[in-house]
């Protein structure tokens, strides 16, 4: 069985922000909001919690640094210590640049990877976008309760906040 979702289309940022807040305060479950660009303040309008990706980034960076440092120490001190320019086998200061670079590399790549996975973005994804939301439209998707009358309530609410159109769409669950 699948639940229908009510979509409300808006033409401008301010309206969609108000609408979103209103819809959420009216107690409807916000399925999602679709916008052509990152709308400032939408996160708290939707009541989203800050992302945990920052921690991924930190961890990855730490890992990169450790790997880099241990690789350099292993190759220059353990595996085959060579007298290079009279410098000590463990020329720690000389190992810092590479460690730093690898830290950044690991952090960056891992974070992006994590993001793509979490947001389920991948080549060949078949998910279509709502019409014009990547262009000049904003859309609010409300997951209504079973009672059809609620649909109208939600629709009215959005129209009252300036929705230019609404539609009821089936969600394959």
């Amino acid at each position: 069985m699948s639940a229908p979702v009510l979509i409300g289309y808006f033409d401008n940022e301010t309206q969609v922000l108000d609408a979103t807040r209103a819809v959420r305060e009216a107690g409807f479950t916000l399925h999602d909001v679709y916008t052509p660009y990152a709308v400032h303040g939408m996160d708290d309008a939707m009541g989203l919690k800050p992302s945990r990706l920052t921690w991924v980034c930190f961890g990855a960076g730490l890992l990169g640094c450790t790997l880099a440092m241990s690789l350099q120490l292993y190759t220059s001190v353990v595996s085959w210590p060579l007298n290079v320019g009279g410098k000590p086998f463990n020329s720690f200061p000389a190992f810092i640049p590479v460690s730093f670079e690898l830290t950044v590399l690991f952090a960056a790549l891992t974070t992006v990877a994590a993001f793509l996975v979490r947001a389920r973005l991948f080549p060949g994804s078949r998910r279509p976008a709502l019409p014009r939301v990547t262009d000049d439209r904003f859309a609010i998707a409300v997951a209504p309760r079973e009672d059809p009358s609620e649909l109208n309530a939600a629709e009215d609410l959005m129209r009252s906040h300036g929705a230019v159109a609404t539609a009821l769409l089936e969600v394959a669950s």
Binding site: E13, D32, P36, D43, P97, V98, L121, P128, D135, A172
Partner: protein
Amino acid sequence: MSNQHLSPLREPLVTEPRSLGQLTEEICAPMERPPTWKWWVAFGIAVSVLGTGAGIVGYQVATGIGVWGLNKTIGWAFDITNFVFWVGIGHAGTLISAILFLFRQKWRTSINRAAEAMTLFAVMCAALFPLIHMGRPWLAFWVMPYPNSRGSLWVNFRSPLLWDVFAISTYFTVSAVFWYVGLIPDLATVRDRAKAGIRKAVFKVMSLGWTGSNRTWSRYETVYLLLAGLATPLVLSVHTIVSMDFATSVIPGWHTTIFPPYFVAGAVFSGFAMVLTLMIITRVVLGYEHLITLRHLENMTKIIIVTGGLVSLAYATEFFIAWYSGNPYERFAFMNRAFGPYAWAYWIMVTCNVVSPHLFWFKKIRTSPAAIFVLSLVINVGMWFERFVIIVTSLHRDFLPSSWAMYTPTMVEVGTFIGTFGLFFTLFLLFVRVLPIISIGEVKSVLGFARDGHEAQPQTPATPAAEEPHPAAHRPVAAVPLAIATRKDVPV
């Protein structure tokens, strides 16, 4: 609703009123219409230069580094000069997108995409030189630490050249990722505008199924912020490490602690010059005057004044320290720079880098694209000579007078250098054709900047997207059941 809309003091970043739709239209237009003859000419030239360059490099690799003008005293000249030159240019892009982003400099939005692209292409050009300057480039992979059957002979992590390998490759990778992440929403926009066909298919794949969901947007913002945060120290580290190629050596004129900041400043300096060069061309050719506004240019000239000042300061400091150190070799090295056989190069450098930026103090010049264009070129020339001076004049007369020598480039070296410009512009022209060179999403977010929201969007969106009748637009609510039957593909 954010307060920025209410500030009467700020000037709008997009000078003419535009609707979101119109923006999309404008930015996507160049890639949707067939290339103009101007583009073809430019592209033709670029490609042929590239081809020639490739031929020359082939010849050099086939014959030996001997076809260059180097000798037993001067082991580096054009090769490393060009390397540092291109890496330097490669700095503005990430700097603009990362550092200005962190500083919340909204005006960056309309130039960062192109600047980042420029970074990537410049770094490609730069990376070419460390490769071909090797005596045996086919063994270049030996600089990578990998287990092998030579008793596992590793690499020398004490060598600045090795740091370079890691720095440059990391820098390239991260910049590329940064750039691509920034592209994703726009790719989706293009995808949704495209009719069925190759473009649709390609962009479908490239946009990774972006739907504009705000849950994604919110994570996206976090990631972008993180990347910016990572890229900022990275961009500084890269030229620091490049400068260490010289700073860690013993050669008077190279062995200088001031090099890292000095090189970074120089990199930003030359980088912005190059961005200006490209932006001025682009805005004229593509008619983006209202997006890449005079204000953008002006801001960049200001940065140039600052970095130019830093560079001048570095020159002065070098000289002072050389004298103050009391080290005869240091003293000689710098006197030799200014008054030795390569004095001409030195004074070109000074004129271009120390004198010319100060013309930007004049509002007239600062606001005349033509003047800016010329000066940006001048500065690029100057920065190339800076590297040439540092490398060649330091090497050609070092400790033992017996091995003092002179260097003159050969056609092969010059040709290779020109060839890299071919590579650079070929890539840039392709970029202009196939990707939105302005970050649509970001510009939209600042469209309302310093302009009241409602007035900002006239209700006359004549976008092609609007022409296709919207499924739910004119349908009475009663007809909902029908709709239920029709659509099953709403994203979750």
